[in-house]
Symmetry: C2
Subunit: 142 residues, 2 copies
């Protein structure tokens, strides 16, 4: 699993891009906060602990660069701030309406997420985004 920017597969994706200190810090922070699916400003707050002079614009730039390189993915729900996720497996997201936490939801073995959908004839899917909102197990009991 390509969970490091120095992984050979990831290095290939990042070909042509400079692996600057800032990009490395941003990537490491997204990894560290992965379970929270951090927003750009959460990443900024944490990144400043390591690199106090990093700017918010740089965090946005790095997140965009890493997303385009395929090292992380951008996750959106409604109009809230984008969140970022370093899990590169195909997966969906469950947003708890009560505690605002986000959970990765994996695809069942051998399943295809686009299967139950009646896609337009001749269309070609490049990416698929599945988000669910509801109550998480913790918030259910209260």
């Amino acid at each position: 699993m390509a969970d490091s920017l120095t992984d050979p597969k990831m290095a290939e994706k990042l070909d042509g891009l400079r692996m600057t200190k800032q990009r490395k810090v941003v990537y490491d922070v997204v990894q560290e906060l992965a379970i929270d699916h951090p927003t750009a400003s959460s990443v900024y707050t944490k990144a400043k602990e390591i690199m106090p002079n990093i700017s918010l614009a740089t965090v946005y730039n790095c997140l965009e660069t890493l997303t385009e390189a395929g090292a992380i993915t951008q996750v959106n729900l409604h109009r809230e701030a984008s969140r970022f996720c370093p899990n590169l497996q195909p997966h969906a997201h469950f947003f708890c309406a009560k505690c605002d936490s986000v959970f990765d939801v994996n695809l069942n073995e051998q399943a295809d997420a686009s299967e139950p959908w009646n896609l337009p004839d001749g269309s070609k899917i490049q990416e698929m985004n599945v988000a669910m909102r509801g109550l998480c197990p913790n918030c259910q009991d209260s």
Copy 2:
């Protein structure tokens, strides 16, 4: 199918809310432009042809009210402006990356969109959002 605000089922959902001229105009425009999945400002532009003094704030208010009442749904992709859809059947959306059009994608007969997903034990889904991005049949040939 509850495709009119005067439909008994819809009237029930709107219980307690006034069916003002503005709300009716906004709803009718969303119906009229349904195939486009119009944004708030598209709705505003069209609504002004019918009611020149309607304000953008009122369009936003009406869209929110109608969404909360369940008369229309709000559709989001990435960080673009929200779009609105009067199709109340469970369906997904296909966004063409080239021509920016949006298509309704229906669920196969008897299928359940949450089926292929390994949901967290004990969680309860309230809503599910499926969006795909790719090339539409028209844009494929070019």
